[in-house]
């Protein structure tokens, strides 16, 4: 049976199992599965998927749910966590919550499970107000996730709360199934004047194929500050489609850093919607991949209100036969006067076989705006290489230093020092060097 049919036929059985208190959810799920049924998996014929084909991975016979509750020892996966800082943790193994690895809270804020939030009456008001409100109803993969939405992280921060501990959301795949597809669903609501830092990661622990179709909705209320980090350094058999939707109210600041260092196919759909004035949105990314890996960044910033800013900065280094895509869309509505939208995308190709498809898209309907975009594709600067070699730094290390320097505009704004150091170590490791100091 093809995966699409398998998913549709699993849907009824799935719904029967859930003890929903909320009849609205049934309708949301039903119309979502219908949309997926109509549209199916996206193909390269669609403009938005022109450069990313899912065909090869859809041939795997994915299980739609893991059969067993699987456990892993903390020692095995310790390296995927932040270790020197205290954090809240919402951890999943093969799509199921692991209470053993998690550290949740209801003390002044909720950091817990989506499945609780969706099924328990006390969360109903928040769910009714936010769940599936900003996620696309049209996009077929988001609909697929909505139809099967049950498990994931639920974060609700009341007003005027500075969350001291970062929140880690990690999805592990153990490979207990020959091939597994999961539909993680996260909901993050950050109240007025509140601050939070979140790190999200998807990690396979063996080489059985995985397809993760994740949806995250983030709501930032007035003057909220949200810093969200996505660490994508997965195995070559792991595929990730990340759909993130962010709604921002007046004076809020939201930044998303996406570090794409590994995986087979990674697609990041990152969407920002402005719902107030003086909003600041930051989208930054570093992609360093090789072999035949593929990373596609598909961003949208919808400027709908006046006096808002958006800053995009994506750096890509492609080795071997790797392929990269950057499709960055800035939409400035007629009302969005005094918009300041900035987009920068720099790419380095280390071989003749590596490919980048870069496509900035600016659609501007307001007349008093500042929009700029720059895109470069190049090789490493020979003059800089000579400079470093002249100081005695061998070619390989010099290359690595230069590539590190190339990405530093993105790493410099990571606000969690341990995460910053971790990213630097992953970069050094990717580049195959040990510089003798933390880059």
């Amino acid at each position: 049976m093809e995966l699409k049919e398998k998913l549709i036929s699993s849907f009824m059985a799935f719904e029967e199992k859930i003890a929903d208190v909320n009849t609205d959810l049934h309708e949301i799920r039903t119309s979502a599965i219908k949309n997926f049924e109509n549209k199916g998996f996206p193909t390269k014929k669609e403009e938005a998927w022109k450069y990313t084909s899912l065909n090869a991975i859809l041939k795997n016979d994915f299980s739609v749910f893991a059969k067993n509750e699987n456990a892993i020892e903390f020692a095995e996966v310790k390296k995927y966590f932040l270790n020197d800082v205290d954090t809240y943790k919402v951890i999943f193994i093969d799509g199921k919550f692991s209470s053993y690895l998690s550290s949740t809270t209801h003390d002044g804020l909720d950091v817990c499970l989506m499945s609780s939030a969706l099924t328990k009456p006390k969360y109903k008001m928040v769910i009714d107000e936010y769940f599936n409100k900003i996620a696309s109803k049209e996009e077929s993969l988001t609909s697929l996730n909505t139809a099967f939405s049950l498990e994931g992280a639920y974060v609700n921060i009341p007003r005027s709360k500075v969350v001291e501990k970062p929140i880690e959301i990690i999805y592990f795949s153990t490979g207990s199934e020959a091939a597994l597809m999961t539909q993680p669903r996260n909901l993050i609501v950050v109240g007025e004047n509140s601050h939070v830092q979140i790190v999200e990661r998807h990690q396979s622990l063996n080489n059985n194929p995985v397809l993760t179709n994740s949806v995250t909705e983030i709501f930032a209320q007035k003057r909220a500050i949200v810093d969200y980090y996505k660490v994508q350094n997965d195995l070559q058999t792991a595929n990730l489609i990340d759909n993130t939707y962010i709604a921002q109210k007046q004076d809020s600041h939201v930044s998303v850093h996406t570090f794409s260092f590994g995986g087979n196919i990674t697609r990041n759909n990152l969407n920002f919607y402005h719902q107030g004035e003086h909003i600041d949105s930051t989208l930054k990314g570093i992609t360093i991949i090789g072999d035949k890996q593929h990373v596609d960044h598909y961003t949208l910033v919808q400027h709908a209100t006046p006096n808002c800013e958006s800053h995009q900065n994506y750096k890509t280094i492609l080795n071997d036969s790797a392929t990269g895509v950057f499709n960055g869309k800035i939409f400035v509505e007629k009302e969005a006067q005094k918009t300041d939208a900035f987009q920068q995308n720099n790419n380095i190709l280390l071989t003749d076989k590596a490919t980048i498809n870069a496509k900035p898209q600016l659609e501007i309907f307001a007349d008093d705006v500042k929009c700029s975009h720059g895109c470069t594709i190049g090789q490493l600067d020979e003059n800089a290489m000579f400079y470093m070699q002249q100081r005695g730094i061998p070619k390989k290390e010099a290359k690595a230093l230069l590539m590190y320097a190339f990405t530093s505009e993105v790493t410099s704004s990571v606000k969690i020092p341990e995460l910053k150091a971790k990213i630097a170590r992953i970069i050094a490791d990717k580049l195959g060097v040990n510089m003798g100091f933390d880059l």
Partner: protein, 249 residues
């Protein structure tokens, strides 16, 4: 120390050096002057091993060893230093981390242990004081946002840290105000001893007031057309290069 014999070089099939002969002994300061486009910077790049230039003929010896086939970093490890006319900016890597890496790579190549951290710190403090550099400067990203003077001072700081046998200063005076020029020259003079040598490449005589050369060579159209002592530089400053052109013809 440095011997250059009949050096010919080209870039993209254009001949730039057309038979250079030069011998620099330990303890000496040489200056190469010449009009724009004479090949001065090409010569310094080639000594340091820039692979964009092709050496078609001739040899370069450092302490009797032929080095023209060596990679730039290998030459650096053997004691060649080139102070760049346009030092490169490397964001995200501090001055301190860069120089630590450079020193330890050199030590590794020469089969020495890494320099102990306290020794490194002491050396950095000592040499940065010599160049009158601010402490804060050392933690800034290498050359990023540095003024022209800061960049050149940082070059000489690296030279002081690396203690090369032969230091080539390529247009080090360009973009320097008089104070920076004095500091840079003072640094070079303090580092100078009977076991190393300095080659100053310059368009103007100004720097040579501070770093007084034992020999001055005039490079024109890819050849050294005239050599003399420090007074030659003054003569060039006064009369320009045209009289030499006339003299050759």
């Amino acid at each position: 120390m440095l011997q250059i014999k009949n050096l010919h070089a080209s870039v993209e099939d254009k001949d730039i050096l057309k038979g250079i002969n030069l011998e620099i002994k330990a303890g000496e300061v040489h200056a190469i002057m010449g009009p724009n486009g004479a090949g001065k910077s090409t010569l310094s790049s080639i000594i340091a091993g820039n692979e964009n230039y092709e050496v078609s003929e001739g040899e370069i010896f450092l302490d009797g060893e032929e080095i023209s086939e060596l990679a730039p970093e290998e030459r650096a490890h053997k004691g060649v230093f080139l102070s760049f006319q346009y030092p490169v900016e490397i964001p995200g890597v501090s001055v301190t981390n860069f120089i630590k890496t450079a020193i330890n790579e050199k030590r590794k190549a020469n089969k020495q242990e890494e320099m102990p951290a306290n020794e490194m710190l002491k050396l950095i403090r000592e040499k940065s004081e010599l160049l009158e550099m601010d402490r804060k400067f050392l933690s800034r990203s290498l050359n990023e946002g540095f003024s022209g003077g800061e960049k050149k001072r940082n070059e000489i700081f690296q030279m002081a840290m690396l203690e090369p046998k032969i230091a080539i200063l390529d247009e080090t005076d360009s973009g320097l105000d008089i104070d920076a020029l004095r500091i840079v020259a003072n640094g070079v003079n303090k580092l100078k001893n009977e076991n190393n040598a300095v080659l100053v490449i310059t368009h103007y005589q100004r720097l040579l007031d501070y770093i007084v050369p034992d020999f001055v060579h005039v490079l024109m159209d890819g050849k050294i057309v005239k050599s003399g002592d420090a007074s030659l530089a003054l003569e060039l400053e006064e009369k320009g290069y045209d009289w030499i052109k006339a003299e050759i013809q």
